[in-house]
Symmetry: C2
Subunit: 365 residues, 2 copies
């Protein structure tokens, strides 16, 4: 049997509470279905800094590299606001992305029917929304060098970051976007700022070439990233798959997530390239929401994004498509039954805590 | 009498149609009120490229530098999609911003009461919205060097852009934001990505220092730019003044503009530092919308953003506060009367063309 080693990095804030629900789910799957998942756990973010002065230890990095999939909770909190830049909580996540070469970040923005009314957008604008943002995750301004603050004297400093993209990086991320579009509505919109950025000019050129050479059956549009942000707010249903760089992807996927009214519910997958021999991809799954330190430890966090991230893990890392579908259906069913954590509570619904929500989903699964 | 030399750069697409309405307004003000405006006109964008192979000629640049204020329409269109990067239409606008040192871009996002229902957001989320985005306009990734595409051989290219901010640049833009906040709700939110960008770390530090040293009476919040984009969609009324860098400002101001349902209506001002002797600031005023080539020449474009930009010009360049207030009131009154251009048309309203809309506003003024 293929190995199913999961490495769990719950992190800070509400991360551990959300992860606890996934752990219960994994135990249930092993017991009832004989799914055969093996789990190990490590530290990332502020808790890792507290334990050994780094946002992730080398030992835990090695375990993440060796695992079949990593499940990641969330990192950060006010406690670590003043720690040095190099060991801030986010550095752990960025190292995982970079060292595991997780260049493809998949961020679905779907609007759960039961929650359409709770979006700040009009119901008809978001009802039935189902878009997928494919964000480049190991390049661009996040990792380009030079990245530094220089002291110029006279009280003046200079902050520098460098946006760098090579042809191969744009080619492989657009390939992922085109492949995924074929399983959906067959439409890709590429976003950049080619009117002011040279990396945007190259991005536009390489996406077009990749399209022409290998994916001309897919509909391709180009849009400036600022106009893209506007159009996401105006009429998001015009999109199917959006492919964009690391920084624009960060901004646009957050805007898209908020549109759905389901921010606490959205999962993401970060994937590497398939191994030449085994065809397996390194992968990390994490909720789009953050560590929410203000509600941590109260038992009220919404575990759905973390559970939905595990559904993506079943789908993309283990080819367990039926189980993934079933888990996503269980989430929708529990919402249809009127169960709500505090963040998505509305009149006439039943407010439940983190563990009750997790239990209800497991019961439906 | 102080000079009132206006240099008009109508540009491409709907730019000239919108500018024509402002020209009528200026003529009316000179005739009726003796306002004493002198105007001259030049070319920018695609039309300038067609005329002399550059997105703005040196002669017109000199006139812009010498004017008391520049009124700018819009640039670009499919006709010029393939012109070389250095002479693309946008290069004219970017040169104006850089050479005139227009570092402070003021983008109000207000929701006209008459249009609240036409936003894609729920009416209660945007009704009465009045926020001001203060965007740094002469620095960051727009102008940093190196900015180039390198041929690496083997079919590989590398696109590079550089984000650079110096202390003094952050200091002066945050000063503008704090000053403006004092005339409003006294609240500034600064946005950056200090968790991944060194320029963001410096931005955060300098805004905090400027606040502490000179503006501690103003409420200051810091927000990560991705979270800021989310919060703009979730509950925009939490903001008063937002201060951010050139690229985040580009994205965030477009999202904010779209929230209001009044995209075709929003003006902007780009200001330089006050001259040491004369105290006058170089200034350029332009609508937030683009050149809209699809509707150009049809007489249906909405001239309100251009007219509202002229109102900002009256206010910021000529201290004509009463006239600016009156002009803004005239715009609101015409909307209250039910007049609508095609882009903002809704049931029960009266659809009018560009010139009719302009005439109606002038009549109310
Ligand atoms: C935590 C932070 C470094 C991260 C990012 O900027 O990529 C987050 O915002 C995200 O989108 O995953
Ligand atoms: C036209 C373009 C260069 C410009 C920019 O990116 O600044 C525009 O989007 C804007 O926001 O004024």
């Amino acid at each position: 049997m293929a190995s199913k080693n999961l490495f769990l990095l719950a992190g800070d804030g509400i991360g551990p509470e959300a992860m606890a629900e996934v752990k219960k789910l994994i135990a249930a799957m092993n017991a009832k279905l004989g799914s055969g998942f093996a789990t190990d756990e490590g530290l990332v973010g502020g808790c890792a800094y507290d334990a050994h002065g780094a946002a992730i230890s080398d030992a835990d990095m090695a375990k993440a590299m060796a695992a079949d999939a990593v499940l990641f909770g969330a990192v950060g909190g006010p406690k670590w606001d003043k720690v040095p830049y190099e060991v801030r909580p986010e550095a752990g996540l960025l190292r995982l992305r970079k060292d595991m070469e997780l260049f493809a970040n998949l961020r679905p923005a779907i609007c759960y029917p039961a929650l359409a009314a709770s979006s700040s957008l009009k119901q008809e604008v978001v009802e039935g929304l189902d878009i997928l943002i494919v964000r480049e995750l190991t390049g661009g301004v996040y990792f380009g060098e030079p990245k530094q603050i220089i002291d110029l004297g006279n009280g003046q400093k200079r902050g520098i970051d460098t946006q760098v993209y090579d042809t191969f990086e744009i080619e492989r991320i657009s390939g992922v976007a085109f492949e995924l579009a074929r399983t959906r509505k067959n439409h890709v919109t590429s976003m950049e700022k080619r009117n002011v950025m040279k990396s945007g000019v190259l991005w536009n050129e390489v996406v077009s070439q990749t399209h022409k050479a290998r994916y001309s059956d897919v509909k391709l549009d180009h849009m400036l990233a600022d106009a893209g942000g506007m159009q996401l707010v105006r009429w998001p249903k015009q999109f199917d798959v959006i492919v964009t760089d690391n920084l624009f992807g960060d901004m646009l996927s957050d805007v898209a997530a908020m549109l759905t009214g389901s921010l606490g519910m959205l999962p993401s997958a970060s994937l590497g390239a398939p191994d030449v021999k085994t065809k397996k991809r390194k992968a990390l799954y994490e909720p789009v929401h953050g560590s929410a330190p203000d509600i941590a430890g109260k038992g009220i966090a919404n575990p759905i994004a973390m559970i939905a991230s595990f559904a993506m893990c079943l789908r993309y890392s283990f080819g367990m498509v039926a189980e993934a579908d079933k888990l996503e259906a269980a989430i929708a069913a529990v919402l249809d039954d009127g169960l709500r954590t505090k963040d998505i509570m509305s009149e006439g619904m039943k407010e439940v805590g983190t563990t009750e929500m997790g239990d209800a989903i497991i019961a439906k699964f």
